[in-house]
């Protein structure tokens, strides 16, 4: 991995990824010659139809998947990841799930209580994940990702399983995370208003292999409000680009 410019946190260059269907053997090129640069402290939202390769992209950035072609430059930042599924250890209580990530990061395990309170799960701290609803489990995953003081935050539809009121609270929590210290982030979402509200830049992905169909920069101070007409206007343009 080569030296990165001080302000560049992630650089994907000409990245290609082809999956081969295990049953039919048919190849599918999800990414081809895909390039993306994300600055230090910048939150980039990825929106786009189901199956365009957003999760694939996130997994490449997380180091979980190696591209077939092209180069990936990322340092070794501390990761906070919310996968599309919660991925909790079902045999450990909720709090312990967060504590393990904290301990691995060398942080105070008691920070788990603060973050569980922030996602509204204090009374489930001692429960096993199996008694939680889908949305509650997703909130544990969010708590785990935010708890570890991440340098790079990867969020794959983190709020999609939540009711609107809870989602709003967590969006605010995410804004607060960025206000406490800007971090580099990728946020995959199917909600264009959410993308406009949270991100510094929105990329609309389309096609197969995926390409950037539209790009919007959002220069607005945090905390931002969903009532902001500027963001609402932006969201309509994202929707238009998606169509």
């Amino acid at each position: 991995m080569s030296e990165l410019a001080t302000t560049t946190a992630i650089r994907l260059d000409g990245v290609g990824k082809t999956f081969v269907d295990a049953r039919t053997g048919a190849p599918q090129t999800v990414l081809d010659g895909f390039s993306l640069t994300v600055d230090e402290g910048e939150l980039v939202a990825l929106v786009g139809a189901s199956g365009t390769g957003k999760t694939t992209l996130l997994h490449i950035v997380a180091g979980l998947s190696t591209p077939d072609r092209g180069t990936v430059e990322i340092g070794r930042p501390r990761l906070g990841v919310v996968f599309q599924q919660p991925r909790l250890l079902d045999w450990l209580p909720v709090r312990q799930n967060v504590v393990l990530a904290l301990e691995a990061a060398g942080l105070d395990p008691d920070a788990a209580d603060t973050v569980l309170e922030a996602v509204g799960l204090t009374r489930y701290a001692g429960s096993y994940p199996s008694v939680l609803s889908g949305g509650q489990r997703q909130r544990v995953a969010v708590a785990r990702a935010f708890a570890v003081e991440p340098d790079l935050v990867l969020l794959d539809e983190p709020f999609s399983a939540l009711d609107e009121l809870t989602a709003r609270k967590l969006r605010l929590l995410l804004q607060e995370l960025w206000m406490s210290r800007p971090r580099t982030g990728l946020l995959v979402t199917h909600n264009p208003l959410e993308a406009a509200l949270l991100a510094d830049r929105v990329l609309v992905l389309a096609g197969s292999p995926a390409r950037v169909a539209a790009e919007h920069r959002i220069e607005r101070e945090r905390p931002r409000s969903a009532e902001d007409p500027y963001l609402f206007d932006l969201h309509t343009r994202i929707v238009a680009a998606l169509a």
Binding site: G63, L64, R87, L89, Y128
Partner: protein
């Protein structure tokens, strides 16, 4: 009366009925069997020989467990090892315990190695297979999660692999034990001068059916307590989190 107790009473009654109807020394009544049973318990011979047998099973099983855990994990993690080990495991599964018993008596004579190796050989393949399947069923999504959060090797082992493998480990232990104690009796019949199998052989030589039954019953009860009492208790503890779903 609980259903289990009811079964014991009915089985004893049916046996007694058969003994009365057949009326032969080859089918002793419940009273005779009970007499033998009390006899071998009171004079200490049961405890002594059972102790020896259990020690042999335990050593052989421990050996099999260590080898099988290593082999099963290696097979689950590495394609070459899997393809290399699979024929051995499948072959091992089909070889009757009796063959291992005979071979070990011939090869290792009357020492402790004979029963221990026979037990290990007969239980290791089943154990390895169960553990291998367990390793394959560990959720790769969780391994990815552990990777991005940089869990240490110890954490991964204790908090991810061990709990995820627990059901296979218990299933393997139960299977291995049940195979092991069947083989140990054979080994002791053929080549040992102590142990439950040796006593069964003595009883057989004297045509003492009551003694055969008494030894078998006691031994079976002890093994059942081990398998269902101890193992199931441990398993329930390890699987406590699962219960949360039902409540």
């Amino acid at each position: 009366m609980g259903p289990a107790a009811l079964f014991v009473v009915l089985a004893a009654a049916a046996w007694q009925l058969m003994a009365v109807l057949v009326d032969s020394v080859l089918v002793p009544g419940v009273g005779d069997v009970a007499g033998e049973l009390v006899g071998i318990v009171v004079d200490g011979s049961f405890a002594q020989h059972l102790g020896i047998t259990v020690l042999r099973v335990a050593l052989g099983f421990a050996l099999a467990f260590v080898v099988a855990v290593a082999a099963g994990i290696a097979m689950g993690r590495n394609e070459f090892v899997r393809r290399f080990g699979e024929p051995a495991v499948l072959l091992g599964l089909t070889i009757p315990g009796l063959v291992w018993a005979l071979l070990c008596v011939i090869w290792f004579g009357v020492g402790l190695a004979n029963p221990v190796i026979a037990v290990a050989l007969s239980s290791a393949p089943a154990l390895a297979l169960t553990i291998y399947q367990g390793v394959r069923s560990v959720d790769p999504d969780l391994l990815e999660m552990a990777h991005v959060y940089r869990f240490s090797r110890t954490t991964r082992l204790r908090r991810l692999w061990l709990p995820a493998l627990a059901p296979s480990l218990f299933a393997g232990a139960r299977l291995g034990l049940s195979l092991g104690w069947k083989v140990i009796v054979l080994v002791e019949v053929f080549g040992m001068s102590s142990g439950v199998g040796y006593q069964l052989n003595n009883a057989f030589a004297e045509q003492n059916v009551a003694a055969v039954l008494a030894w078998t019953l006691l031994f079976a009860v002890v093994m059942a307590v081990l398998e269902y009492g101890v193992l199931q208790g441990l398993e329930r503890r390890a699987g406590r989190w699962r219960k949360a779903v039902i409540v």
